[in-house]
Symmetry: C2
Subunit: 227 residues, 2 copies
Amino acid sequence: MIRNPEVLCKKLGLAFNNPELFTIALTHRSAGANNNERLEFLGDSILGFVIAQKLYKLFPKAGEGVLSRLRASLVNEESLAGLARQHQLGDYLRLGLGELKSGGCRRDSILSDALEAVMGALFIDQGIAACQQWIEHIFAEKLQSLSLDNWQKDPKTQLQELMQSKKLDLPDYVLQTMSGLAHEQTFKVKCTVPLTSETCIGVGVSRKKAEQSAAEQMLELLNKDSK
Amino acid sequence: MIRNPEVLCKKLGLAFNNPELFTIALTHRSAGANNNERLEFLGDSILGFVIAQKLYKLFPKAGEGVLSRLRASLVNEESLAGLARQHQLGDYLRLGLGELKSGGCRRDSILSDALEAVMGALFIDQGIAACQQWIEHIFAEKLQSLSLDNWQKDPKTQLQELMQSKKLDLPDYVLQTMSGLAHEQTFKVKCTVPLTSETCIGVGVSRKKAEQSAAEQMLELLNKDSK
């Protein structure tokens, strides 16, 4: 039995002018041609924008690397599926028989896509301001609990603590080159860690800045590898 | 000599309430701490959203795969750098001495980032509607000339033509499994092509749809590999 989408709509605090859009957002491609894939495409980009501008405002001193990591920690399949589960979204999904039997309504990817599709549907129905408000509402708890501790620490400190937590040797920074006139020099520093054979080169107007940049790149590299 | 950013601002058809934001958007990280990285983070997400919603409206029948490929063809480093060059943006960049000497003002990545940062700055200065309007304006030509031919073709046709253009054997589709009741069967088809040893599995409510889905995934795979 497919539950009435109106019930979910109310649970989510939404009221659609065109309820059909909401129903489509809950329709997986396994259930037919008029499914949520296009709305998900749209919702995904809206979510990226809404969270980016929120983080930009919330953390005026965070660099681009920190903002990107914060966003990745908020917007990912697992986190979106978790939000979808909080509202029992899976109970209202429209799936083909195959997906239904294999438990598609509990799968992270399907839940996450449907939640993004709801965002896309809301945008089409009510525009960006309403959509932004709702996204910020359902992400409110996650946004509040973002532990700034970890993000406010500079990259070198973060990288060092990561190595310490794994009982590994500390990162190594080697100055590669210095160039430019005395008052506008450019430093190039190579960072290596025991966790990977890859190295990262940081460039900056001081040795310290070049080291921070190398550490930041290494954190991103390790972050990607662990995904 | 750094040229007056006001001149570029006018060329771009913009007028900032806070011109300082525009100057920051033109400042590469090599030129100091108050640079365009945060604005680029923001602009990148805005651009993704604006183009997504535009494509969603322009191509009401295009599937998510087509929309994603269309967006990737519009929004990429090379295309953004091209737009930046059209407006001589490189002449107005603020770079550190090292980047200046090594021709940073002509580099795709630096030009593309600065253009995204201008979008971020415009959003902060004037909000999403103004920013959307300007992005659609500078992308107008690209949006108009989007060759629909290629995108309207179904994935199987596109994949076949790709193989023919490289004088390779045609794609191979093998039915793997069929499951479900007679009126709601699920088909699983494996697609292989001579270009890669990887295979793609498509699932659909008919054999044809499963093949199209497998072909679409293969196109995406080949697209990723070629980047």
